[in-house]
């Protein structure tokens, strides 16, 4: 059992070494003169491709995001039940299928409810 931890140790050390190595490459290349120093405005910007941030990044998100997130979480987590059902589908036969349909019917009622109440619209 202890031997198994040996592999984890090797993995940890090599991962750490790789990360340190990647950080050290640019300064080493610079010092050794392999890479020339030619700064220009585009090169020294924060993102060479992408948008500069406007204002602080600690902004509050719109309330609407939370409703979408809540809805997503509810429907997302129900999918957990689908995996065991799918694995055992052949043994469960028709009864399993019908039970899953009943389960989905209830979820669909919830979905219709959210839809009609306008939760899915961005106002």
């Amino acid at each position: 059992m202890l031997g198994n931890f040996g592999y984890i140790g090797i993995f940890l050390i090599s991962a750490l070494g790789f990360a340190i190595f990647m950080v050290l490459i640019p300064p080493i290349l610079r010092r050794s003169g392999i890479v020339p120093k030619k700064p220009n405005p585009t090169k020294s910007s924060t993102y060479e491709c992408g948008m500069e941030t406007v204002g602080k990044s600690w902004v509050q998100f719109n309330f609407r995001y939370y409703f979408f997130a809540l809805l997503f979480v509810i429907f997302d987590i129900q999918v957990v039940f689908l995996y065991p059902w799918a694995v055992a589908f052949k043994q469960l036969k028709l009864f399993g299928l019908l039970e899953m349909l009943a389960f989905f019917l209830i979820l669909v009622v919830g979905f219709i409810y959210a839809w009609r109440k306008g939760v899915l619209e961005w106002k």
Partner: protein, 480 residues
């Protein structure tokens, strides 16, 4: 798998879905209340049709016996009374009536499942189905007080269910099964009687279920939640949710943990004494009637727990039935009484828009019948004849005496005397105080129907309790 055994629950679920869909597609919202109340007839009819069966289904997870059918009817009747008393109150949240009715129905379905399952996973699911519906209902008014009550109820409820789950995990780990009969067999077979880990699991289970029935030290949510929640939901919490807690405790502790009854019955005896004393003493200082009834319901849970404690005097493993049957009978009497009191309060507060006891001054002249009904229910809560509360107390006290719990009965009697003070104070304010205005307090037909049913029940059970007593005895007969 016999789906017919599950028919009451399935029809109730279908009813809730129909109410949600109707709410989306029709304009006249009063129909929703009518459909919800009338629709309850279907599960009730299935329950009565199933009366007398004693079968299990779904791999022993679902059990249909006298006990579960009795509680099915119990929950359906109290749900009907709560819905009747909500019809007028629902104007406070006119846009969300459909959700309100549907959530009440789903909570009722959870409670019915709680009484009729024999397996820890299903118990947890049923408990949470009830719990989550009630959290949402508690915060339903969306004013600061109601949301605060909802948040407190949810946070404490979630902690309680985590503790309960930890206890369930321990019991599962020790016995290797989640079926109550399997647990019982494993406890006897594997010599777990003196296992400290099992004792730990039992304590955690008591803590988790204790939250549902609001026993000390898990009672702190009660006053805040009762005050902040919509009043019909307060009534629902104090009656149906509590009864469901007791039903599931009876199931789990008598069916699975019977062999170690010495361990848990003494816990319940001590908790009963502390719970009733704390509830009654703190109730004396309350000025808000919903808060006062909250503490009163804590005290009543204390009396009810006497029924759980009545096994301690027996041999280990031997369990008598007069304690459980007294408990079930007490629950029915308490339910009618407390629902009656809350319906009267709903009717009065719809008009005067206040829950302060001082605002009830001279109510007997403004609403004579409502005040009389409220007085009757309060007298029944004290336990004065000829009301249901008197019979319930006599029966549960005599069960305790039979099992040698004299000290607990003495504590309970002293508590009854203390409780008379604050109940009678409300009656004095209503009948002897000067009216704050001459305006009459009218009430709707639905409220009057519900209130008459409750008061009639209180009187009938106080004078002629024998029929219900027989049913209560039949309901608990299947406990070994």
């Amino acid at each position: 798998m016999n789906l017919y055994l599950l028919a009451p629950e399935i029809s109730l679920c279908a009813l809730a879905l129909v109410v949600i869909l109707l709410d989306l597609f029709i304009g006249r919202k009063w129909i929703l209340g009518a459909v919800s109340i009338a629709g309850l007839i279907v599960p009730a009819a299935f329950t009565i049709a199933l009366w007398g069966t004693n079968e299990t289904s779904f791999n022993g997870m679902l059990v249909v016996d006298q006990f579960s059918l009795f509680f099915n009817l119990f929950f359906l009747v109290s749900t009907a009374l709560v819905l009747l008393s909500s019809t007028e109150y629902a104007s406070k949240f006119a846009a969300f009536r459909g959700e309100y009715y549907a959530l009440v129905l789903l909570a009722a379905m959870g409670m019915m499942l709680m009484a009729s399952t024999r397996e820890l996973i299903s118990i947890y699911i049923a408990l949470e189905l009830t719990g989550i519906s009630l959290y949402a209902l508690t915060g339903f008014l969306k004013d600061p007080k109601s949301s605060e009550a909802g948040l407190k109820y949810l946070l404490l409820g979630a902690v309680a269910s985590a503790v309960l789950l930890y206890g369930m995990a321990l019991v599962f780990g020790l016995t290797g099964t989640t079926h109550l009969e399997g647990i019982k067999a494993a406890i006897s077979a594997e010599g777990l009687l003196a296992s400290p880990a099992l004792l730990m699991g039992i304590v955690l289970l008591v803590a988790g279920f204790g939250f549902k029935i609001a026993t000390v030290p898990f009672q702190m949510w009660v006053p805040d939640v009762y005050e902040g929640a919509p009043t019909p939901i307060t009534a629902y919490l104090s009656v149906a949710s509590k009864a469901a807690g007791f039903a599931v405790i009876l199931r789990v502790f008598y069916e699975a943990l019977g062999p170690v009854s010495l361990d848990w019955s003494i816990i319940f005896a001590v908790l009963a004494a502390i719970t009733m004393t704390l509830g009654n003493v703190v109730a004396i200082w309350q000025t808000n009637i919903k808060r006062m009834l909250g503490y009163s319901s804590i005290a009543q849970a204390g009396y009810l727990m006497i029924g759980l404690a009545t096994v301690s005097a027996l041999e280990p493993g031997a369990i008598g039935s007069s304690g459980p049957s007294a408990l079930v009978f007490f629950l029915a009497c308490y339910a009618l009484t407390n629902l009656g009191a809350f319906i009267a309060i709903i009717a009065i507060s719809n008009k005067i828009d206040s829950d302060e006891i001082s605002d009830y001054s001279g109510m007997a002249r403004r609403a004579p019948l409502l005040s009389l009904a409220l007085a009757l229910c309060l007298i029944s809560l004290i336990g004065i004849p000829p009301t249901a509360g008197f019979m319930a107390k006599i029966y549960i006290f005599s069960a305790a005496v039979d099992y040698g719990l004299i000290w607990l009965v003495i504590v309970a009697v002293i508590n009854t005397v203390i409780s008379a003070y604050y109940y009678l104070r409300v009656i004095r304010v209503m009948f002897l105080g000067a009216p704050l205005s001459e305006e009459r307090v009218p009430s709707s037909g639905a409220l009057r129907a519900a209130l008459s049913f409750a008061c009639l029940g209180v009187l009938v059970l106080g004078i002629y309790p024998w029929v219900l007593l027989r049913i209560a005895e039949a309901a608990v007969r299947m406990f070994p």
